[in-house]
Amino acid sequence: MATVSVTTAISASQPLAASELAHACGADTEWVVQLVEVGIVQVTAAEAPPERWQFSSADLQSALEARRLERDFGVGLDAAALILDLQHEVRRLKAVIRAHGLR
């Protein structure tokens, strides 16, 4: 018998709070503030207090990747931001190639 669980899709209407993003990455809110500073995650109003920030699925994906890069490669968040930008570009280009049936 399957247990029915409460499921929420992380979306614009149900975003993650800074504390939830931090918990999902095994980190604290201070770390999320650093992610915002280097631009790994995007907030509409960086000057607003962190309790008011909202994050999307894309932010969670980037934050998880940044956490792994930090832990496994010992990179700083500035370098992680650059690696993630390059990674997104590689994935975007690969998707374009696939979408056009070229591979």
């Binding site: 499921t7 929420t8 899709a9 614009a12 975007r92 374009v96 696939r98 979408a99």
Partner: protein
């Protein structure tokens, strides 16, 4: 369950220093990173080396794993029949330190979970530590149709418990997951309270499922947009036409191919992509399919076309 040799997964031996583990991991992670690797089994290899790294980079886990490996070597377990002996980790304690990052064990093997899953929890309990359970992460692959229309899917999760003899045993539980309509690849579904149990009476963590879309026979997905190749005849492309096109939500729609359409032209059906309230688009990439010139009548028609368009040189820009 297989006994996993973490040292050979990283290509190092038992005497390897912390620095050697780090170097070996980084080298292999670059080789097998799914974004850059040309190896066919890159994703699986990456999981294996991540798991080996999680144990060997951590002094406490490595010491306990080494001790267990010695016991296994003396005891001679048959291949594939490994069960951790009771109390195998006595005297060792595992911490989930602040720098350990996300609890991404959901990707790891049964062998790993049976050794370190429960032990990490016990370690936390012993230290009288109170905190919400860690969040877990996993991926769920769904069909394009399910992503568009929403669906209910069952997923099986393994959790580990200790039996009366103190031996770790597995309990599988099935969860029914409601997938909302309009999910796009990379979007997360959160299952409240389905992560790791809480410590010291605090609530359990959540489980995050990352949505992946399975390859489709007709459609290709790029973020929120969907692409399909639409074959048309030379006549349809030249004169324009109304053609029937299947749409991923089911059924078909009539689409206008404009006159003088070229191969590769992109027709956009606005809002027929993925993404719920802010949907992407469905793009049709025109591909001109030539009727074969085998029958006499078709041959004749092509010959007439050649005469009628004798002044048309498609290679003019090549200078010939």
């Amino acid at each position: 369950m297989e006994f996993k040799d973490y040292y050979s997964a990283l290509g190092i031996d038992r005497t390897a220093s912390e620095e050697d583990v780090r170097k070996a991991y980084r080298k292999l992670a670059r080789k097998y990173h799914p974004d850059v690797s040309k190896e066919a089994d890159a994703e699986k290899r990456m999981r294996d080396i991540n798991e080996a790294n999680d144990v060997l980079r951590d002094k406490e886990k490595r010491a306990a794993y080494d001790a267990l490996a010695d016991r296994v070597a003396r005891g001679g377990h048959p291949q594939g029949d490994f069960q951790p002996p009771p109390g195998w980790d006595t005297g060792f304690e595992f911490h989930r330190g602040p720098n350990q990052g996300p609890a991404d064990h959901a990707d790891f093997s049964e062998f790993f979970s049976s050794l370190f899953g429960e032990a990490e929890r016990r370690g936390a309990a012993k230290r009288n530590y109170r905190a919400r359970g860690e969040d877990h992460h996993a991926a769920i692959e769904i069909s394009l149709e399910d992503a568009l229309n929403g669906a209910e899917r069952e997923i099986t999760l393994r959790s580990q418990e200790t039996d009366a003899q103190g031996r770790p045993s597995f309990k599988t539980r099935t969860l029914s997951v409601k997938i909302p309509a309009g999910m796009h690849p990379g979007q997360f579904i959160r299952l409240a309270g389905q992560g790791m149990p809480g410590h010291g009476g605090e609530p359990a963590g959540d489980l995050y499922l990352e949505v992946r879309i399975a390859p489709h026979r007709l459609y290709r997905v790029e973020e929120r947009d969907i692409y399909m190749t639409l074959p048309v005849t030379p006549t349809e492309a030249a004169l324009g036409a109304q053609v029937k096109v299947p749409v991923p939500t089911g059924g078909a729609v009539e689409v206008t191919v404009p006159p003088n359409a070229r191969s590769g032209l992109k027709l956009r059906l606005k809002g027929r992509g993925l993404g719920g309230k802010q949907p992407g688009d469905l793009y049709l990439l025109l591909e001109i399919a030539l009727p074969p010139a085998t029958a006499d009548t078709t041959r004749k028609a092509y010959e007439q076309l050649a005469q009628a368009s004798a002044s048309f040189n498609p290679r003019q820009h090549l200078g010939v």
